[in-house]
Every structure is written in C-alpha cells, then in structure tokens.
C-alpha cells in the first residue's frame, strides 16, 4: 500500500547466496517437497523441474515486485496466484514444445508448480516488499538453491537406481540397479539421508562455536 515506508536491503552477493545455503528452500525450509520427492528419479527430470520452478519464481516475483504498490492487501494472495499461474501455464506450453518425453516424465508436477509454497512464500515475504533488482537476485538465488537440491537428489537416485547420469551409462552392462531408488520410496530415503548429513554438519558447527565460546570464557 502506498505511503508505508519500505525497508529496502542493499543488493549484495549475500542476497543471492542466502538462497543456496542459509535459506535453501529444500534442505533448510523444507518447502515444495512435492516435486522434490516426485520428479527427482533422474538428473534430467530434476534439472528440468528446477529450472522451470526458477523461471516461474523469478518471473512471477518480478511482476509482483513491480506491481507491489498497486496491489491492495485484501486481494494480494489472489493476485499472486493469478500471476504465478500465468507463468506456470507458459512453462507448461514451453516444455511441451521442447520435448514431449520430458513433459510426460514430469507429468502433473509442472502444473503443480502453482501451489509450490516456496514461490508464493517468496512473493509474500520478499517480492511484495523489495524493489525489482533485489527480488530478481534473491529469486535467482532461491531458484538455484532449489535446483541444486533437486539435482543432488536426482543425481544420487539416477546413479544408484539406473546406473547412469543424465542418461549416460556409468558402470556398464553388469551394474545392478537399486530399483527402489527410482521408485517413490527412494525419494524419501535419499532426502532423509541428505537432511541427516546437513543436520550433522550444522550440529557440529554449532557445538564447535559453543565450545569455542566456553574456552574463551574460561580463559
């Protein structure tokens, strides 16, 4: 709404990097789990879904940011959803035009980008308060973090589940694929393992800083 003071933050490298690590939508915020589990059975699917979501995120949030002074807050969610749905429909057509096989592999999950709470969350929490530049940079960072997370699942699942990476066979004819990895349970197993690893890292770092503080105190 006009007249309200906005607190713009300066656009720094951190605006971008935050989405990759500190505020990673998948590994830290656990947002948008539906495509994370469903379409990461191969690296190429994961990459395509990540890029499609990034495009929708950046494009819709830019528009939200541009229109932010003209959207009455009573209808803001409806407006955001219309904007997001528009770009999702465009991506849907684009993927159909690029490759029908990819379109069939991703299935309903392209349309379901509309309800990816990561995108709506960014529009509400960031784009509606920040100018275009910061929104684009932040959106790209979040999108990159999302794509990275999808890829890290997709790569593990494809290597173990099909013995290949981006469709290129890695281990030859005799490799025994772990069928479960390309089935839905595999998504949960791999996501759980990644979360476990990240949690262990964070815990370790935390403990180390605490120990450091204690040591300083005693000195």
């Amino acid at each position: 709404m006009p007249g309200r003071p906005e607190q713009h933050e300066p656009v720094t490298l951190d605006t971008f990097l935050r989405g990759l690590w500190e505020e990673n939508p998948v590994f830290v915020m656990l947002l948008g789990m539906c495509p994370v589990l469903a379409v990461t059975n191969s690296a190429i699917n994961a990459l395509a879904m990540g890029l499609a979501s990034t495009f929708v995120l950046v494009a819709s949030n830019s528009l939200v940011s541009l229109l932010r002074h003209y959207i009455p807050k009573q209808v803001r969610i409806a407006t955001y959803i219309i904007i997001i749905a528009t770009f999702v429909t465009m991506v849907d057509y684009a993927i159909q035009a690029i490759s029908l096989d990819l379109y069939n592999a991703l299935g309903a999950f392209i349309q379901l980008i509309v309800v990816n709470c990561m995108i709506l969350g960014r529009a509400e929490a960031y784009a509606s308060k920040q100018p275009l530049g910061a929104t684009v940079v932040n959106g790209l960072g979040i999108g990159a973090g999302f794509t990275l997370a999808l890829l890290s699942l997709g790569v593990v699942r494809e290597v173990l589940g099909s013995g290949s990476l981006f469709g290129v066979s890695l281990f030859g004819e005799n490799f025994q694929p772990w069928v479960v990895m390309i089935l839905p349970p595999g998504g949960f197993f791999v996501l759980g393992t990644w979360l476990l690893i990240f949690a262990a890292f964070r815990l370790r770092k935390q403990r180390r800083t605490e120990l450091g503080e204690v040591a300083q105190h005693e000195r």
């Binding site: 209808v75 904007i83 429909t89 057509y93 035009a97």
Partner: protein, 227 residues
C-alpha cells in the same frame, strides 16, 4: 489485518475501485501472456504430438511411411472425423501406397496400473507385427521389460491372429506360455519373473484381436486405396 481494523470497517468505494482495477489489470495481463505463449507453441506442440504418434505407428507397422486415421464405429470402419464416436484405428501405407497394416490401442490391468499399448496388425499375413507400450507403471527392472526386452519383442514379429470362419472372433486365441515353450505362431513367450505383466499383454492383445480382427478383415476395402 484485524488489529489494523480493516476487517471491521466497511470497504470504502475507493478501495473497491482499487481492487477491481488491480485484479482487472493483472487478469488482462495474464490472459495476454497465456494466449501469446499458446499461439507461439501450438504449432510446435502439434508437430511433436504427430511425430510421437507416427514414431510409434511406424514402429509397429514395419514398412509404413504414411498414415491415415480411421474410426471403428457401429457401422464398420470409417474415415476419422471429429464428430464420429468410436475406437481410433490408424492405417499405415508403404512406399508403393499400399496398405501395410493397421494399428490399434489395447489396454489391460498390469501389475501396478493399466498398461496401454499400440499394436500393429497386418491383414494380409493375419498376424500382429509389433507392439509399442504407450503407458505403464510396471516395476523397473522386472515388469517394464515388456517394453524393452528384445526376446519378448521377438514374440510380436509375426504373432498369428487369424479370423475364424464365422467371423466373430479368432480361429485360435492368443495365449501366454512359459518362457522358452513357444512352439506355435499364436503363442507368446512369457518373461520369466514378470508373469503378471506378460499375462496382461497377452490378455489385452487377445481381447482386442478377438473383437476387431474380423471387423478389419471385412472392411479392408475401406482402407485400401483405390488403384
């Protein structure tokens, strides 16, 4: 919002106007973008779909290079038109313009979900010339062999499906046998370890052929180009 008091206070006309203005603007913009991208991508998507159908079609009808769509209706087989109701039938024609075979869709319940295939039928040798799995959710590594396993695909190079004398079914039903026991032209060798998926293929082929093969044989003239 409630603490700001907007929920209680009546919506002012100015606010209503601004909501209408914004939603109208956004909706117009949105419609414009969607139509634009639809217009741009439509020809490419249509071309993609045509290629996908033809790739499957020319695979199951060896030697075919062009196609014509027909419809199986209550009255027999007719040229496909948008207002006709019935089962789609694709005819494939060879280099010389002669009918090489027809392709139909068949479906049956597999291990996890319905399996849908396209199969090619050659009315001159009265046999099935190939199958292509269109949709399935069989277990990777086991059931999905029905789509890729070369030994299994070998079953469908000349699988007999001969119409019987009375014209209401097949002379000999298409049956599934255990792997390595195929001895007759109308038998399908099962994939060992994927009995249920193999059975589904045999069942859908038999059901579909029992129904449509006599019909196709009786309506060959419709599809054969006049020459």
């Amino acid at each position: 919002m409630i603490q700001e008091g907007t929920a209680q206070s009546p919506v002012s006309p100015a606010l209503t106007r601004s909501m209408l203005r914004t939603l109208g603007l956004v909706a117009t913009l949105s419609g414009l973008l969607v139509v634009l991208s639809y217009r741009i991508t439509l020809p490419i998507i249509e071309e993609n779909k045509r290629l996908a159908i033809e790739r499957a079609l020319f695979k199951v009808i060896p030697g075919a290079i062009s196609r014509q769509d027909f419809m199986i209706t209550d009255r027999g087989i007719e040229l496909a038109q948008s207002d006709l109701q019935g089962t789609a039938l694709y005819a494939g024609y060879g280099q010389d313009g002669r009918l090489k075979g027809v392709a139909l869709e068949a479906a049956a319940a597999g291990y996890q979900d319905v399996i849908r295939i396209l199969y090619g039928y050659d009315p001159y040798c009265q046999c099935i010339r190939g199958i292509e799995v269109l949709k399935m959710a069989e277990t990777p590594g086991i059931g999905d062999k029905i789509a890729k396993d070369p030994v299994f695909q070998e079953n469908f190079t000349a699988l007999e499906a001969r119409a019987n004398a009375t014209g209401d079914g097949l002379e000999r039903a298409i049956v599934l046998v255990k792997q390595g026991e195929k001895s007759e032209a109308w038998q399908i060798d099962a994939i060992s370890g994927a009995t249920i998926s193999s059975k589904a293929i045999a069942r859908m082929l038999n059901d579909s052929a029992q129904r449509y093969v006599p019909l196709i044989q009786n309506n060959l003239a419709v599809m054969e180009p006049a020459s």
